[in-house]
Symmetry: C2
Subunit: 407 residues, 2 copies
């Protein structure tokens, strides 16, 4: 018997299931008997909650549906493994379940935290002379894993953001100057601004794009922000500004806490929490008298598989396939990476890298790609990001709605 | 010379431009010399701000782009004509500009308020023996115009809502019961719940759909709402609830004012305004201790032309064409309607109706289509709405983004 298991962990994306598809396809090609899936990641695995992917993916139609299904098909978790020395029993249980089910290799798709799980398990195996192998498959809309050029999940989210912003800008431009609305759009990414920076892609031959981009990499200055809006309002009939959920003031306070801390308190004395865009929209309305609107992309941005990037879907699938190839060769304790081998035309190959250099490290946008004075992205960023949103995989529609594969 | 002009008014939709396309196509077929467009509706027309659509729509490519362009291509306005007896000069000016430019007919796309403009202008023409004709083309995401079976703009918005809810539900289901999130989604439609009701379409063979729907047609009871959530939380690992922005309590207070009125007041004593979903999410979090998330579809729902319904696009185009045919025959003071002539298969034809019976009248959801106890829609609504979201018109992508036509 030759069996393999794959799990999903952390926040969902539009393409995380393509990696599962890739794992299944390559494992079957390489003669694995069973390709198992953990239900709700390592947390579910500890309860032996596993499924056989043969039960879902044998038909070509279901395979295609899985590639178009957002969020974690297997179910995800946010379970952090305890340190080895503190809870040997947890590790013993994992290996016990693997041995019982004759599972040779465990693949884990996720971001920084999930790669830590791969690191701990492969370290434990090495220390205890276990033969099982462990491999990481990158996945995060935040695009903040180091070493890899970019992360599966990012391109589709960026495509959703740029497309939706084009539509929001068109909408906001429909009235004349008398009805100017300042639209503040909040984008995910608390520490790294990769997604917010993707707002710059909305500018193309038929869209003027957003008027400013506020990244968590740069200090947020409320006076500068208000001054910029007042100046834009002198001439423009539409203002659309992209802000990261994670922008902070000089003293390290999140902007979404500005409203809550010293402003809005409800009748019971509780802080009234609202998003960063809503907080800023309220402040702008009060300070300038302009009409404002706050839009938060929320989970839409990471779940909109109907608008996924084909490049992203394909790369996610390739990452899953590569991980299987590697463990099949006996490799362990590494993550699949994406290496850009050519800029123009864009070419990208998979590689592998030691998990110890990846787990728990966060990659931010290089400062030299940011035009801080003009609150915009330089051409280096545009050249980096544009290829990642290319191509579409048309949803399979039934009765007017995109179809998904469910467990 | 035989000239016609068309204008757009009120809130934008994904398909309002298809009606402009239809007007242009039919007018050219019928030998009109110039097909003009008002920039920013009747407000811009009063400043003689008009364009010749030949400058934009002669190529087949641009025509196809226009059908895929959201928001008002011509620019919209929210200008309400004064009463005839109060401001004859405004009416005289409109007819003066029409005569100067040899414009025989004026078409206006919009909702209730815009149909009032058509009514006033055709009434004025009749009273003053003017030969110019005026016709309304229905357009509103709110779907609240009377007489017509439904309104262009509604189907695309409903398709966006149902698709996005399927994706939000998938996302919300990714974690297990320990990480249950109550997701409250706010949908447009302050007085009529047609759009919020479209949340019911998210339930299909691979989605369990939303857990409850709160319409503005029904009185909102906070205790019932909290009780329902607590009950759902006993068994479910994901809760997604759709609420209309316009839901009101027994004493006629909008739910979004609940937070503002007696709860959140900022340091300056200003009411802190937030949306209805955000208000409810805060209340649920405090009263139940559950994790909550508020999502507002905001302008995304009315601008997402990348996900427009082909049925809707085609019907919007046909409405524009029919209006031209009518004024070409000398008819005036009417609006184009959509008449459903067959249920299964769905068939729909355009008709016409006296504008006096339409302007300023609001159509709500029939009570017998609402299952108030279970907070869901009955099959009568589903059968009504499902055909309207059918079909897709693939966007024209360039560099990974849908392209639009701009003025």
């Amino acid at each position: 018997m030759k069996n393999i298991i794959v799990g999903q962990s952390g926040g969902p994306t539009s393409v995380i299931n393509s990696s599962i598809a890739g794992v299944y396809k390559k494992a079957k090609e390489l003669g694995y008997d069973h390709v198992y899936g953990m239900v709700h990641g390592i947390e579910g695995f500890l309860n032996e909650d596993i499924i056989d992917l043969d039960d879902y993916l044998k038909s070509e139609e279901n395979y295609e549906l899985l590639k178009r299904t957002p969020s974690a098909f297997l179910g995800s978790c946010r379970y952090k493994l305890p340190k080895i020395e503190e809870a040997e029993d947890v590790y013993e249980k994992i290996f016990e379940i693997m041995e019982k089910n004759e599972i040779d290799s465990l693949l884990y798709t996720g971001g920084n935290d999930s790669m830590d799980t791969v690191k701990m398990l492969s370290d434990y195996a090495k220390e205890h002379n276990k033969k099982q192998t462990f491999f990481g498959v990158p996945k995060t809309i935040d695009n903040d894993l180091p070493i890899t050029d970019h992360c599966p999940g990012y391109g589709s989210c960026a495509k959703y953001i740029a497309t939706s912003l084009k539509e929001i800008i068109r909408d906001n431009e429909s009235f004349n100057k008398n009805r100017l609305t300042v639209c503040i759009v909040e984008i995910m990414g608390r520490h790294a601004g990769w997604l917010t920076a993707a707002a710059s892609l909305a500018s193309d031959g038929n869209s003027s794009g957003v008027d400013a981009i506020y990244l968590p990499e740069c200090e947020f200055d409320l006076d500068e922000f208000l001054g910029r809006i007042k100046k834009l309002a002198e001439t423009k009939s539409s203002i659309v500004i992209a802000v990261s959920e994670g922008i902070q003031t000089k003293d390290g306070k999140f902007v979404c806490e500005l409203g809550a801390d010293d402003r809005a308190v409800d009748a019971f004395g509780h802080k009234q929490l609202s998003g960063c865009a809503a907080t800023l929209a309220n402040i702008v309305a009060k300070e300038t008298g302009l009409k404002t609107r706050a839009i938060e992309f929320s989970t839409l941005q990471r779940a909109a598989s109907h608008l996924a990037s084909l490049t992203d879907i394909n790369e996610a699938e390739e990452c899953g396939m590569r991980a299987v190839e590697e463990v099949n060769k006996g490799n362990t304790g590494m993550m699949v990476t994406l290496n850009r081998t050519s800029e123009n035309p864009y070419k990208c190959e998979t590689g592998v890298y030691d998990i110890h250099d990846i787990a728990n490290v966060e990659k931010k946008i290089p400062f030299e790609w940011i035009d801080e004075e003009n609150k915009s992205m330089k051409k280096e960023f545009l050249e980096y990001a544009r290829p990642l949103i290319m191509g579409e995989l048309t949803p399979i529609f039934k009765d007017g709605l995109p179809q998904h594969l469910v467990r």
